[in-house]
């Protein structure tokens, strides 16, 4: 249970809107520039952020985030740099929840308990570990719970009702509902499967349900905000930075997109 994260999501709900959650990987576009990129997300209006810990084998990511992870790793980003980016962002934005999203092996290698302790010390609010199913999550959950870190599990359109109940019983903070069957990346169409998944997930839990995968525009954000507690956007932000002529232009583009999306989540 993480009170900061729950509080921010509850506040959005009290305003009768969805929350906007933005994702960017650490080490991207540069190790030092990552905190500025995340700051642009927050300045544009993100209610909470996810900082990616880049991985050599991002099997759940499409080409956009693969490219960013590649750049980050070639920049030499280390796990300790990711934690430093978290620390910088939380220091500058004490009220904004900061989650780390990554694959399990880097956390396992760092040591689950040690990673949880260092993340908590950096002011982090929790973790999303999409290749760590509930069945394998015991040691991580124990470490996270003791430190007040949220563990956000992902549910998918293919998840059956009984499994949804198992997953949501173990998760804290919110539930991450994957809008589509597939990897990360912008899509023309979101929503259809997501609405049904959100409904089925809500039947099993009181946790907020936030929807991610594929959302890139304000119109899509509004569409999703009509039925979800939060809208998660990643690849579209990464793409803005990849397309920009300079890091500064990239941060400006991220801020602009975040502002558009923040408007979107208020138009349910």
């Amino acid at each position: 249970m993480n009170t900061q994260l729950s509080g921010v999501l509850a506040a959005a709900k009290a305003e009768d809107r969805a929350a906007l959650i933005g994702y960017l990987p650490a080490g991207f576009p540069t190790i030092d520039g990552a905190a500025q990129a995340v700051q642009a997300l927050i300045d544009g209006g993100a209610d909470a952020v996810e900082i990616g810990l880049p991985h050599s084998d991002p099997v759940l990511d499409g080409p956009t985030i693969q490219t960013a992870d590649d750049i980050a790793l070639r920049n030499g980003v280390r796990t300790r740099d990711v934690l430093e980016t978290v620390r910088q962002v939380t220091a500058a934005n004490p009220t904004v929840p900061v989650l780390v999203m990554t694959y399990w092996n880097p956390v396992d290698r760092y040591g689950a308990a040690r990673f949880a302790a260092d993340l908590a010390a950096a002011g982090g609010a929790g973790c999303i570990l999409p290749d760590l199913p509930v069945e394998e999550a015991g040691p991580w959950l124990a470490a996270a719970e003791e430190l007040g870190l949220a563990t956000v599990f992902v549910v998918a359109p293919s998840s059956r009702d009984q499994r949804l109940a198992t997953i949501t019983a173990s998760g804290t903070g919110f539930v991450y509902a994957a809008a589509v069957m597939g990897v990360t990346g912008s899509r023309n169409q979101v929503g259809e499967m997501a609405e049904d998944l959100v409904r089925r997930t809500r039947a099993t839990t009181d946790l907020p349900v936030c929807v991610g995968l594929g959302v890139s525009t304000a119109a899509q954000a509004a569409e999703v905000a009509a039925f979800a507690d939060g809208v998660i956007v990643g690849s579209a932000f990464v793409q803005r930075i990849l397309d920009a002529a300079s890091p500064e232009a990239g941060y400006a583009a991220v801020r602009e997109l975040a502002a558009e999306l923040a408007e979107g989540v208020r138009k349910r």
């Binding site: 759940l60 280390r78 880097p106 760092y110 394998e136 599990f153 998918a156 998840s159």
Partner: protein, 404 residues
């Protein structure tokens, strides 16, 4: 060995290794594979159909060949080759592919996808897709599409789509990543026909079971031929499927040494090797906990081997378990030792082996010199070398002065 857990536990663990580290979107599909496999195993019709295919289509049982002239170079130890190279499509991979293809049909799916390194698993999968009338997409690292071009042509001839993968190291690891991405997006219609004893449970167990026929046949053939069990069984280890297949039924025979040969590339003391069990550490890669070549931060280190099929920084979890328990030993073999063994078997026996299998042959040469002329060594000749003639021609300068 009574202490050896012969099957994984309910969560797919062989001791500390295995499990199921997969995204939620794949959980239902992987559970379906596990359920369908259990049902099929209990269904005599499934067993009969697979047995008929292995006999009449693959050409099993594969022979056991005494290689006298080659043995003379191995300290006089008697070397027996289990001839998986003579299977239809040219390697052991077809055993597993036919089993999983039948399973795919039982699940009502119509599309097969697979990763491939050397191209042998891709060829076998494309073959089964043709035989069963299924769609087929094969992911292959771009580097491997170049060094195993013959197999790319074979797959396309069989009607499969071959997708060169340009991410990461552009080899087997990245082909697996790309196949997983495809599977997540197309899981309703598609079975991921995984080609080795790695990946999430039940793949390590299931793929081993489909390859057990190698060891079951070989154990009886060696007993029949020599009147005794061999002193050692030797196989190359990429992901580890041909090795698990031939090892498994010898595990209870405590006097039989089980020796896996890993690719040492340019040497295990250089950064350019694929000796995962020799130099790696426990971690999670491609859905299971096992040994992984990884850095201090848990990022996978790129592997290197002249053999595309062994060029992989992970390994099946049951091998990790056999290593830790001491029941099996794992040794490295360099590119050069493998290539010399390839040439030696070609020139002494008239059998051109795959570069992968040549690692096992090099391991047997070394072991034979250690054990001496009284020893009998069973080697899994996992595949034939046609696909490798481009690499061998370059390595040995066979086409100097002619068109390359």
């Amino acid at each position: 060995m009574s202490t050896h857990a012969l099957t994984p536990d309910g969560r797919g663990y062989f001791g500390a290794y295995g499990g199921r580290f997969i995204p939620e979107a794949l959980v239902a599909a992987v559970e379906q594979v596990a359920d369908e496999y259990e049902k099929a195993k209990a269904d005599p019709a499934f067993g009969a159909e697979l047995a008929a295919l292995l006999k009449d289509y693959t050409g099993r049982p594969s022979p056991l060949t005494d290689v006298h002239r080659f043995s003379a170079e191995a300290g006089g130890a008697r070397i027996l080759l289990k001839r998986e190279d003579l299977n239809h499509t040219g390697s052991h991979k077809i055993n597993n592919v036919l089993g999983q293809a039948l399973l795919t049909r039982r699940m009502g799916k119509t599309r097969l996808i697979a990763e491939t390194g050397a191209g042998q698993h891709g060829v076998a999968t494309a073959t089964a897709a043709a035989l069963f009338g299924m769609d087929c997409t094969i992911y292959m690292g771009e580097v491997d599409t170049q060094r195993q071009a013959l197999n790319v042509a074979r797959m396309r001839m069989l009607g499969a789509e071959v997708v060169p993968v340009t991410s990461g190291s552009r080899t087997l690891k990245d082909a697996i990543n790309e196949a997983f991405r495809d599977w997540v997006a197309n899981v309703d219609s598609t079975h991921y026909l995984f080609g080795t004893v790695a990946g999430p449970h039940p793949f390590p167990m299931m793929v081993r079971e489909f390859h057990r026929v190698i060891g079951i046949e070989a154990r009886a053939q060696v007993l029949d031929r020599t009147g005794a069990l061999p002193d050692a069984v030797v196989a190359c280890v990429g992901g580890g499927s041909n090795a698990m297949g031939i090892f498994y039924d010898f595990i209870p025979d405590a006097g039989v040494r089980l020796i896996g040969i890993e690719a040492a590339g340019e040497g295990v003391d250089t950064p350019r090797h694929a000796a995962t069990l020799t130099k790696g550490d426990p971690g999670v890669l491609h859905g299971s906990r096992t040994y992984v070549l990884q850095d201090e931060d848990g990022q996978t280190i790129e592997s290197h081997s002249i053999s595309a099929g062994l060029d992989y920084p992970g390994v099946g979890p049951e091998h990790a378990y056999l290593k830790d328990s001491g029941r099996a030993e794992y040794r490295p073999c360099t590119d050069d030792a493998a290539m010399q063994a390839l040439r030696l078997l070609s020139r002494t026996e008239g059998i051109i082996p795959a570069i992968e299998s040549s690692h096992a042959l090099a391991g047997a040469l070394e072991l034979g010199r250690e054990l001496g002329p009284d020893a009998t060594i069973l080697v899994n000749l996992s595949g034939r070398g046609d696909k490798d003639m481009h690499t061998a021609a370059e390595y040995f300068g066979l086409l100097d002065g002619e068109t390359k």
